[in-house]
């Protein structure tokens, strides 16, 4: 059977189970006696085993099989939940995750040390020997390496060599008296038969339908414990013919052969046999009752899995649709075609609705990435000997899939920094009179057209002077310049390229690992990063993210008769200024605006499009936010606010072009560039 078409769903579902395992294990670490976690882990491991075996991923099924065994023993209180056990299981999960990730490759992963660790965890029990045996044998079955001694050919032809007790002899005689025959049936199972005990039960059940069982060799109990090779013999009384019996039993799967022999013996009574049966049914009833019942109601999920590419295409098409709608609007107003107004208004409404729906369908709960952080923070804290309470809020908040894919790494950076460098050591915290356990809060909340993610810690905070010193030492900025920076601006120094990554940073101030990378990534998504910190009290990182990346609100401006889009997320306001108010400080143009010095950038110069117009007295300035401070962009004309569809510039030639986030098509069919304020020089 070709299983490759199931790979995708296998991976998706495995990931869900891995997450569930991870969550439960974290929970178990906190509450080692919570059965629900143990049960969930057992089930997940079990399900993974079945799925991976079906796919033919033997390493995964071996590993999950042993995890399942281990969890089963934990469930039965044969193994204690110790720290070592938790660590072993975490290691197993990591390996499983890697295995699931790399099912496509031929890479072999060695799991022998995990198996050894799990085996020794299981050995720390009373019934060491037994358990070890079952584990070993079942592993072998999975590996398909078990070598069974096949019954010798001549053996299957043997006559009955089953000894009957007096009672059983009586039963045989009674049967004959009632007109039944007594036959001995030798049943031989297929070598490929996996659950021999269950198969033998099925055979016995079918025999019971035709007659009365007098004796089994091996006994029924032994059959159930799988204490037999491939064959067993049943002696029973029946009124059916040999042919009927052989037909019925041979119909059962995995039965290789059935050999009937007629028996004639002396005395017997059925009483004992009946008692035994009653006892048995009682027993099976009682075991059935012990099965766990969970009465939780189940919601059936009304959803389908859709490939993300489909959604991307859909989004693109919606983009095209909007562009055409804008064009149509413009034509209608150019032609002054009043008759079109109503249908255009309808078209407007419909495209808006489609756009909203498509955007919504691309939204996924942020929990998809948040859920992996408790584990990460736990591991980090453990390795550094710190105690950390991680509080996660707003995990139900939804974000565009593309945005979500991109913010995982930045958030890892921020959380790592908070734990690594923000939170002080236990000793320090005690001395400072802070609670020993540090607090890290990760929260998401929905703003109007964006999502705000905050990473907050109650650690040592950042010292602006310290940051100034480091920046100067690293040659990022001159001493003169750095002294002019406000404290807030000084905090933003950590986002400068080259600031971070060095050990000095870690040792002295604590922060700065890859912060420029974080900033770049978030801004590439059309978002922004803000930082605030109080020395001794902690820091907060605020990431503002757009709900979607494909369509953004922009302020349209013209410079030298070309239209440009400025993402509205960057825009603070627009103001009119007089050319005569512009002052020059150290060769750079600035203007005093509401008591603040605003550096000016003339887009003509930046974009290198010489203007033919005379220097005007009245200038239009768009104030945008960059690197935590404001700058003013001098433009020719404001065209107004508009939704633009981003067409990325990520081909070879244009990829490294600084200053542009992409291009868009305007209503009249012309192309406008979208400015990227962060990289605009």
């Amino acid at each position: 059977m070709d299983m490759s078409e199931y790979k995708e769903i296998f991976k998706a579902e495995s990931d869900e189970h891995l997450q569930q395992l991870n969550d439960s294990l974290l929970g178990l670490e906190q509450n080692p006696n919570e059965m629900e976690y143990i049960n969930t882990m057992f089930r997940s491991a079990h399900t993974l085993k079945g799925m991976s075996a079906t796919m033919g991923f033997s390493t995964i099924s071996e590993l999950t099989h042993e995890m399942e065994n281990l969890m089963d023993m934990v469930r039965k209180s044969q193994v204690d939940v110790s720290n070592e056990l938790i660590d072993i299981l975490f290691e197993c999960l990591d390996t499983l995750e890697a295995l699931v990730d790399t099912v496509d490759s031929d890479e072999k992963v060695d799991i022998s040390h995990l198996q050894a660790n799990m085996a020794s965890a299981m050995e720390g029990t009373l019934c060491t020997q037994d358990i070890k045996e079952t584990v070993d044998s079942s592993t072998n079955i999975i590996k398909n390496e078990i070598i069974k001694e096949l019954p010798a050919e001549n053996e299957s032809e043997t006559e009955i060599n089953v000894e009957l007790s007096d009672n059983e002899k009586r039963a045989v005689n009674d049967a004959s008296a009632e007109g039944s025959r007594v036959i001995s049936l030798k049943v031989i199972l297929d070598e490929s038969c996996v659950l021999k005990s269950a198969r033998s039960t099925l055979v016995l059940i079918n025999i019971t339908k035709m007659g009365e069982i007098i004796k089994c060799e091996p006994s029924e109990a032994e059959l159930e414990d799988e204490k037999f090779d491939l064959e067993f013999t049943v002696i029973f009384s029946t009124k059916s013919t040999d042919e009927e019996i052989v037909d019925t039993i041979k119909k059962i799967s995995e039965v290789k052969d059935v050999i009937p022999t007629t028996v004639s013996e002396s005395n017997g009574t059925e009483k004992k046999e009946q008692d035994k049966k009653e006892a048995e049914t009682e027993e099976s009833n009682s075991t059935n009752k012990t099965a766990v019942k969970r009465p939780d109601a189940v919601k059936s999920i009304q959803s389908v899995r859709v490939n993300i590419e489909r959604l991307d295409n859909l989004m693109n098409l919606v983009g095209e649709l909007i562009i055409n709608k804008i064009r149509l609007n413009q034509l209608a107003s150019d032609l002054k075609a009043k008759d079109l107004d109503e249908s255009l208004a309808n078209l407007d409404r419909l495209t808006n609705e489609i756009q909203t729906e498509v955007m919504e369908s691309r939204m996924v709960p942020i929990d998809q990435i948040f859920s992996r952080f408790p584990r990460m923070v736990r591991d980090l804290a453990k390795s550094e000997g710190k105690q950390i309470n991680l509080i996660i809020e707003g995990k139900e908040i939804e974000l565009d899939r593309t945005v979500l894919d991109e913010i995982g790494d930045p958030l890892v950076h921020l959380l790592r920094n908070a734990v690594d460098h923000g939170i002080e050591s236990q000793k320090e915290r005690k001395e400072l009179g802070k609670p020993v356990a540090g607090l890290v809060r990760l929260s998401a909340s929905r703003q109007r057209n964006s999502v705000l993610i905050e990473v907050e810690d109650d650690g040592k905070g950042m010292d602006p002077d310290n940051l100034r010193d480091i920046a100067v030492k690293k040659g990022i900025i001159s001493r003169e310049e750095v002294d002019k920076l406000s404290d807030t601006e000084a905090l933003n120094l950590i986002f400068m390229p080259g600031f971070s990554g060095a050990k000095v940073v870690t040792d002295i101030s604590g922060r700065g690992v890859g912060m420029d990378a974080v900033k770049t990534k978030i801004e590439a998504l059309g978002g922004s990063v803000k930082i605030s910190s109080v020395q001794g009290q902690g820091s907060i990182m605020k990431l503002q993210l757009p709900l979607t990346v494909a369509i953004i609100q922009s302020l349209m401006v013209t410079v030298a008769n070309e239209t440009y889009a400025v993402p509205l997320g960057n825009v603070i306001r627009d103001v009119g200024i007089k050319a005569s108010d512009i002052k020059t400080i150290e060769g750079k143009e600035v203007i005093l605006l509401r008591g603040e010095v605003l550096p000016l950038l003339r887009l003509h110069n930046v974009l290198d499009c010489p203007t033919e117009q005379e220097e005007k007295e009245n200038l239009i300035v768009v104030v945008v936010e960059r690197m935590g401070s404001n700058i003013g962009l001098v433009v020719d004309e404001l065209l107004g606010q508009q939704e633009v569809i981003i067409k990325s510039l990520d081909n070879k030639l244009l990829k490294n072009l600084k200053g542009f986030a992409g291009a868009t098509i305007l209503g009249d069919g012309s192309v406008a560039l979208i400015l990227d304020i962060a990289t605009l020089i």
């Binding site: 299983m3 769903i9 085993k49 075996a53 079906t54 269950a198 059962i252």
Partner: protein
Amino acid sequence: MVKVMIVDDAAFMRMVIKDILTKNGHEVVAECVDGLDAVNKYPEANPELVFMDIVMPNMEGIDALKKIMEMDPDAKVVMCSSIGQQSVVTDALKTGALDFIVKPFDAAKVLEVIGKVM
């Protein structure tokens, strides 16, 4: 053509079984995510045959089997088991399950079982 109800908490397993069945001319009349779902859907789906997983959240396969056998003593149920569940399968057979298949299974096994029990 046999009308089949599939009970398995793993969507992956449901998909594999369903494809085997539908590609061989059988009809899947219901898919259930756990035992409770199966018990709820059984009367309306009225399948001729049920493929029942054993380890599931909310209600395990063996309990669902019992409930279904109570509702319909003639119900035909085949257990889908993994290695290491001898005792549960044995109990299920005693309760009235007609047969079982062991994961990993292939199309031939599934079809063979249908041939044997129907």
